[in-house]
Structures are given as structure tokens and as C-alpha cells.
């Protein structure tokens, strides 16, 4: 048992750092570190730079163009990237649909789709949730009816993240309404430019446009865009949800945000002293830091065990629940740290970007302008990706209840 990474892992970390120094632009990292939103081009440009370095598909096996990293290397990359202010990796292509295409797609699909995902040429989004199918995903109703060489899709998907940027969507659709719920679902890849698709923004309480409703009206999808067999989609969907979940705690991002919290708490003043010296506030920060430390070690334990065999127990659910709780605690404490200057809520100040345009400034300290919005936004963490309540159902099942 030892805490320190191996020499090879340390060398790899240095390699990642040097890549980040060379390739991460100050404009992008300034936006990320200040909590501003990134645009489509910001993300795709980052993906292209990763791709040029051979790291565009970091979790993929070598035969599909991945760099052959193990989960420890991926963890190190994500940690270093987060600390440096690298854009969070949009998971829908590389981490979600790509593993499904590799495991269950045919060779033609693999050749058609995988290279463009890795190269940042095509943006993917997810078509899972529906208005009536959230935690109970298998009750989904979007229908696909076979007509010759096509499926004709009708229905509505929701909570679609960044679909406004997407070129492709992977969808779960019902192809057999007589069968048992899970047995009548098919996994389709759909070109977002197909006639009949309408993307409508859902405005969230932080004022941002992050998610959408997507309507499908007689959308014709070639049969060749079906993954695997008809009515076997639930198996593929579960595979996708269970894939690469040992980095979901977001330790690197939490460390970065904790450092930001300390910085802000040291800049703010209370009763003439830095806020960070207030005993109650200091204790709250210390509690978060300690909880994060414990979760980091739990995450490393999972990675360490995964060197022998993939995690098959409740590990991913534990990481998800605890990780999201900690992220939410940090965002809430960040907001409280600036007190009344968390109140001004000017959308343009949140979008100000890295160029300090005084006409778009909020009153109060510059760092305060995004904190309330970020607190609002982060409430999503315990809801998406399987609510924390669903995660606890999973944990209970895993321990024999």
C-alpha cells in the first residue's frame, strides 16, 4: 500500500502538464477558471488539439485509435486538465456513444463515426430522457416504425445537453410496444440535420441554455444507423450507462473550485478580517476539504483495484453521490462567500468572457458575477446521470437488499 504514484505515472503527469502548457490557450483557461460558459468552437478546438496529440480518444482501445491509457492515466489527465483550467470533456461522443459503437456497432459504423468523434469533427448529443421517462427510463415512448430501409421516428426527448451544437444524436426508441418494456427498445444514431427534428431550448434557473427538448416528427432514419439488433437497445443503453464511471467524482474540478473558494474567502472581508479567518467559515471550508480528501482516496482505491479487474460493485454509485454532494457544497459556499454581491444577476456579466469589457461588468468583485448562477446550475448534479436517490437504490441492491 502506498499513496504516491509510480515513477511512470509521475512522468506521465509531467507529460500532461507540458501538453497543457503548450496547448491550452490563456483565453480558454481564463474562461474556465472564472466559471464562464464555453461555446461550441471552444470545445471542438480543444478536442482537435487533443486529437493532434493522439489523445482525442483517451479511453479507447488502441485498435480504435485510442492512446492505450489505463484508468489511472485517464484520471491523471482529467485531474491535471481541470487544475489548469482545461475545458471539461463533453462525454456524449467519446465516452458514451463511442464505446457502444465499438462494442456493438458493425465495422462500417465504426469506420464512419469513430474517427470524426476523436477528431472533433462531429458533435454528439444524447437522446435518452423523455418527459414521462426520467429515472424510469425504460418507460420511454418515442416510437420508431420500420418502413423498408428506414425507421420512421416520432416522439419527444428532453434534457438534451448541448443539442443545439450537435451534429448527431444517439436515441433510444420503442420498436415493439407489445413486448416487456425493456425488450422493445432499439438504439438508433440520427443525423440532426434530418428533416422533422426540432430543437427547442429549455431555459434553466441560472439563465443559461444548456439543455433542450427535441421533437421528432416523421424523422426517417436509415436502418444502417441502427446499433446491433432491433429490440436489443436496452442492453446497449445499460452498457453505456455503466461505462467509464470511475472518474465521475470529478476530483480535479473539485480541487480547483476548492482552491478558488479559499482564494475568494481570503479576499473577502468580515468584521475587518479576511473571511477565511472566521472560525465558522474556516471550519466549513475545512470540512469540505476533508470530505474531498476522503473521496479522492476512495476514488484512488477504486482505480487501484481496477488494475486487476473492473469495478463491479457499488463503487461508481458511491463516487457519484459523494462527488456531487461535494461539488454542490463548494458551489454553495462560494456563493455565500461573496455575501450581498452574489445578488446582482446580469446575464451579460456571466458571459463576459476573458476580455475585460467594462461595459459588461457586474458591480462588486469580478469573481462574484457568476457564483449565484453556478450554485443554481450545480443543483443539477444530484439529478442527472441517475439521481442520487437512484444511486442509493443501486447501492442497496448491490449489498443484498
Amino acid at each position: 500500500m502506498r499513496l504516491e504514484f509510480t515513477d511512470e505515472e509521475q512522468a506521465f503527469r509531467e507529460e500532461v502538464r507540458s501538453f497543457l502548457r503548450d496547448q491550452l490557450s490563456p483565453e480558454i483557461s481564463a474562461k474556465v477558471l472564472a466559471g464562464y460558459e464555453l461555446g461550441r468552437e471552444d470545445h471542438l478546438e480543444w478536442q482537435r488539439r487533443l486529437h493532434r496529440r493522439g489523445w482525442g480518444a483517451m479511453g479507447w482501445p488502441v485498435e480504435f485509435g485510442g492512446p492505450g491509457w489505463n484508468s489511472v492515466q485517464q484520471y491523471i489527465f482529467e485531474e491535471e486538465s481541470a487544475l489548469a483550467g482545461g475545458p471539461r470533456l463533453i462525454p456524449f461522443g467519446t465516452k458514451m456513444v463511442a464505446p457502444v459503437i465499438m462494442a456493438f456497432g458493425n465495422v462500417a459504423q465504426q469506420q464512419r463515426f469513430l474517427p470524426k468523434i476523436s477528431a472533433g469533427e462531429e458533435w454528439w448529443c444524447q437522446g435518452y430522457s423523455e418527459p414521462g421517462a426520467g429515472s424510469d427510463l425504460a418507460s420511454l415512448k418515442t416510437r420508431a416504425v420500420r418502413e423498408g430501409d428506414h425507421y420512421v421516428v416520432n416522439g419527444q426527448k428532453t434534457w438534451n445537453t448541448l443539442g443545439q451544437f450537435a451534429d448527431w444524436i444517439f436515441c433510444l426508441v420503442r420498436t415493439d410496444s407489445q413486448a416487456k418494456q425493456q425488450s422493445g427498445i432499439t438504439f438508433l444514431l440520427i443525423d440532426m440535420k434530418t428533416p422533422g427534428i426540432t430543437v427547442r431550448p429549455i431555459m434553466l434557473m441560472d439563465g443559461g441554455h444548456e439543455v433542450n427538448e427535441i421533437w421528432f416528427e416523421n424523422v426517417r432514419v436509415p436502418v444502417e444507423n441502427r446499433i446491433g439488433e432491433e429490440n436489443r437497445g436496452w442492453t446497449y443503453a445499460k452498457f453505456l450507462l455503466g461505462h467509464e464511471r470511475t472518474n465521475i467524482a470529478g476530483i480535479g474540478i473539485a480541487k480547483r473550485e476548492l482552491a478558488r473558494l479559499k482564494h475568494i474567502a481570503a479576499s473577502e472581508r468580515q468584521n475587518g478580517r479576511p473571511l477565511i479567518e472566521d472560525p465558522l467559515f474556516a471550519a466549513q471550508i475545512a470540512q469540505i476539504e476533508i470530505d474531498l480528501w476522503a473521496l479522492e482516496i476512495t476514488n484512488l482505491r477504486v482505480l487501484s483495484a481496477e488494475r486487476k479487474s473492473p469495478a463491479a460493485g457499488p463503487e461508481a454509485s458511491i463516487l457519484k453521490v459523494r462527488g456531487t454532494e461535494i461539488h454542490q457544497a463548494i458551489s454553495e459556499t462560494l456563493m455565500r462567500a461573496v455575501g450581498p454581491y452574489a445578488l446582482p444577476f446580469r446575464r451579460e456579466a456571466m458571459e463576459a468572457g476573458w476580455q475585460f469589457d467594462p461595459t459588461r461588468e457586474s458591480p462588486g468583485p469580478r469573481y462574484a458575477s457568476t457564483l449565484a448562477a453556478s450554485y443554481f446550475n450545480q443543483r443539477k448534479l444530484s439529478i442527472f446521470g441517475g439521481t442520487n436517490e437512484i444511486q442509493k437504490n443501486i447501492i442497496a441492491k448491490m449489498i443484498g437488499l
Partner: protein, 379 residues
């Protein structure tokens, strides 16, 4: 980065587990707890035959020369079995303290006695009114020719009655609260002037408030240079804190297992109560707490002998915060989910609950360590 136990550590765990399963079932614990002494010399001999008290004694003194990771590997079993014998306070802390002075003859001799299981030595350090402030030493040692004369009062000295030797901190100069001026003495428990006010603790172990009234010990019983023992005492307590964390994690695992088993069997409203989601989520929360606590028990073991004292204290305080909070949650919820049965003396769960309660109170509770951690950050 690797969190696997070595083969040797796993074997050590297995040997202790097997012994305790066979020799220390719940009934045995209960009967030993109700004896006058509150511990069993034959159990101690049995553990000594396995090498348990020798684990961290240096090879030169007949020990196995192992460290905190081997201690971690076996400690959880001591917690799970509710072991009353002084593994933590003599085999871990007493030994760690003596190890710092192993080049002195009396300490080396005592270490050999500890390794063989013939002797028991426990620290007598904390004092009344000082809670867990390790610098607050008011007991005095006055040099009189070739002797020291000790006067003072040590609070809640665990296993004082079972010990042959007390490892007593006493001030040879300065005031309570000073880091300098604390010396360490080997004091035979039977020495004239040593008075024990003995009592059981909440978890069934034995402790005593110990009074020293003009106790005379030869000058060679002072370990190390005069006035310079505090660092060694704190280092030994840090090693003990890590071992306490591992003991508590063993208890928490046992309580979670017992609770899962209970809610699967207990029928109400025509079904096992484990089918109710409110209880399922409570148990999921218990598991989440347990795994964070286990992680921190590993961190504590990995860092408790770290040469960088800031890093060491940060890790140990963080560990005690997490383990204290987990112990409180898991302990209270295990009793709750056992319903009325959880309240009874009959079931093991109430005994584990009390051992976890003791673990929370020993060496500073979660709030104490949270404050200490926050202060370390600012330093």
C-alpha cells in the same frame, strides 16, 4: 499509488481473524467484561503466541519489526471482536513510545517483555481539565539525587490496572502548556505512591485516574534527555490514532453487516423491513460513510509516521474527522434500524455502538480535529 495489502499483511489479518473467531466469540467477550479485571491473561498469551504484541517491536528486542500497515491489517478484527485486551494501548502506543528510546537499556528490556507478552505498558499522559491538549502536562518530576520524585494526576489512563509499567509524562521544567520541559518516565504500576481509581469505561474496557504522590523512580527510568519527550509522545499518539481509526472501521463494517442481515430477516407488515426504501437509503448512506472512513483509515496508516509533521497532522486530523462522523452516523443508524432490539444489552450491536462512542471521544473528537485541521491550514 496502490491500496492492496501485501501477502504478509493479509496473512497477519487472517491469523488474527481466525484466532478471534475461535477464541473470542461474543459470549467470551461478555464474560471477560464482567470479571473483576476486565481482561483475560490467557487471551493475551494466545495473542502473544501469534505475535500480536510483538508486531511493532523492533527485531533487536525480539519483535517482528512491522509498522502501521501491519497494524492496520489486524486492527479491524480487534474492533469487530470487541477485544478488551490492551492491543491499542500497550502493543501499539506503549510500544511506539518505547521504540523512540530503544537505545536505552530499561526501554529495550521492557520492549522485549512486551514482545513476548509477559509485560504490559501503557501511556499515562493526558490530564484532567486539559481534554486532549497533549502539551498540558502539570504532573511534576523533581530530581532528588539519583531519583526523581513524581507528583500529579493522570486522567482516564486506559488499562492502567492491567499494566506492569506506566509510561508517565511529567514536567521537569516550565508550565502546563509549554512544549519544552516534559520528560518521560517508566513507573512500575506497583510503585509506592501510585494510586489507581479504577473503573470500567463505556465500552467495557478498564481505565483509571492515576494519582502520583511522591513516587520515587531511579533517574535511569527517565527516557531520553530531560525535558524533551513531548515530540516522542505525540508521535506515539499519532500512531495510536491511526490504529484507533482502523479499529473503528472494523466495528463499523461489523455493524453494517449485522444491520443488513437484520433488516433482511425482520418481518413487519408482511415483509422483510429491508424492502422499505427509506431503510435501503439509510443503509446506502451507512455504506458511503463506511467507505470514506476506510479510505481515511488507510491514509492515517500511510501518514502517521511521515517525517513532515504538518502533513502528518493534516492527515491524522482529517482522518479523525471523517472516522468520528462516520462512527456517529453508522453507530446511531445501526441501533435505530435494529429497533428496540438495538437498545438491548443482549445484541452485539449495542456493544459495538459503545465501542464506537469511545472511539469518537478518544484522542479528540471530530470537532476538535476539524478546528485543528483548519488551524494547520492557516499556519
Amino acid at each position: 499509488m496502490n491500496f492492496e495489502f501485501s501477502d504478509e499483511q493479509r496473512q497477519l489479518h487472517d491469523v488474527v481473524e481466525r484466532y478471534l473467531n475461535e477464541q473470542y466469540p461474543f459470549d467470551r467477550y461478555k464474560s471477560i467484561k464482567n470479571t473483576a479485571a476486565g481482561w483475560d491473561a490467557s487471551v493475551w498469551r494466545g495473542l502473544a503466541e501469534l505475535g500480536v504484541p510483538a508486531i511493532t517491536v523492533p527485531v533487536e528486542q525480539g519483535g517482528l519489526g512491522f509498522g502501521p500497515l501491519e497494524t492496520l491489517a489486524m486492527m479491524g478484527e480487534c474492533g469487530r471482536s470487541l477485544l478488551l485486551e490492551p492491543v491499542l494501548f500497550s502493543a501499539v502506543i506503549g510500544t511506539a513510545l518505547l521504540r523512540a528510546f530503544a537505545d536505552s537499556e530499561p526501554a529495550a528490556e521492557l520492549l522485549a517483555g512486551l514482545a513476548s507478552g509477559e509485560k504490559i505498558a501503557v501511556p499515562a499522559h493526558f490530564e484532567s481539565g486539559a481534554r486532549n491538549d497533549s502539551q498540558w502536562v502539570g504532573t511534576t518530576a523533581r530530581r532528588v539525587g539519583a531519583l526523581y520524585e513524581l507528583d500529579g494526576h493522570k486522567a482516564v489512563v486506559m488499562h492502567a490496572g492491567a499494566a506492569d509499567t506506566l509510561l508517565v509524562s511529567a514536567r521537569t521544567s516550565g508550565e502546563p502548556g509549554d512544549a519544552k520541559g516534559v520528560s518521560l518516565f517508566l513507573v512500575p504500576r506497583a510503585a509506592p505512591g501510585v494510586v489507581l481509581d479504577e473503573y470500567p469505561t463505556v465500552d467495557g474496557r478498564r481505565a483509571a485516574d492515576v494519582y502520583f504522590k511522591g513516587v520515587e523512580v531511579p533517574a535511569e527510568n527517565r527516557l531520553g534527555p530531560e525535558g524533551d519527550a513531548l515530540r516522542a509522545i505525540e508521535a506515539a499518539l499519532d500512531i495510536g490514532l491511526a490504529a484507533l481509526c482502523a479499529d473503528a472501521v472494523g466495528v463499523m463494517q461489523a455493524m453494517l453487516d449485522a444491520t443488513v442481515e437484520y433488516v433482511r430477516q425482520r418481518q413487519q407488515f408482511g415483509q422483510p423491513i429491508g424492502r422499505f426504501q427509506v431503510l435501503q437509503h439509510r443503509i446506502a448512506d451507512m455504506l458511503i460513510h463506511l467507505e470514506q472512513a476506510r479510505s481515511m483509515s488507510y491514509l492515517a496508516a500511510l501518514r502517521c509516521t511521515h517525517e513532515d509533521s504538518l502533513e502528518r497532522r493534516r492527515a491524522l486530523s482529517a482522518a479523525k474527522v471523517v472516522i468520528g462522523q462516520a462512527a456517529r452516523f453508522i453507530g446511531q443508524q445501526a441501533v435505530q434500524l435494529h429497533g428496540g432490539m438495538g437498545m438491548t444489552d443482549e445484541l452485539q450491536v449495542s456493544h459495538w455502538f459503545k465501542r464506537l462512542t469511545a472511539a469518537q471521544l478518544m484522542f479528540g473528537d471530530s470537532d476538535t480535529h476539524l478546528q485543528r485541521f483548519a488551524a494547520l491550514k492557516r499556519a
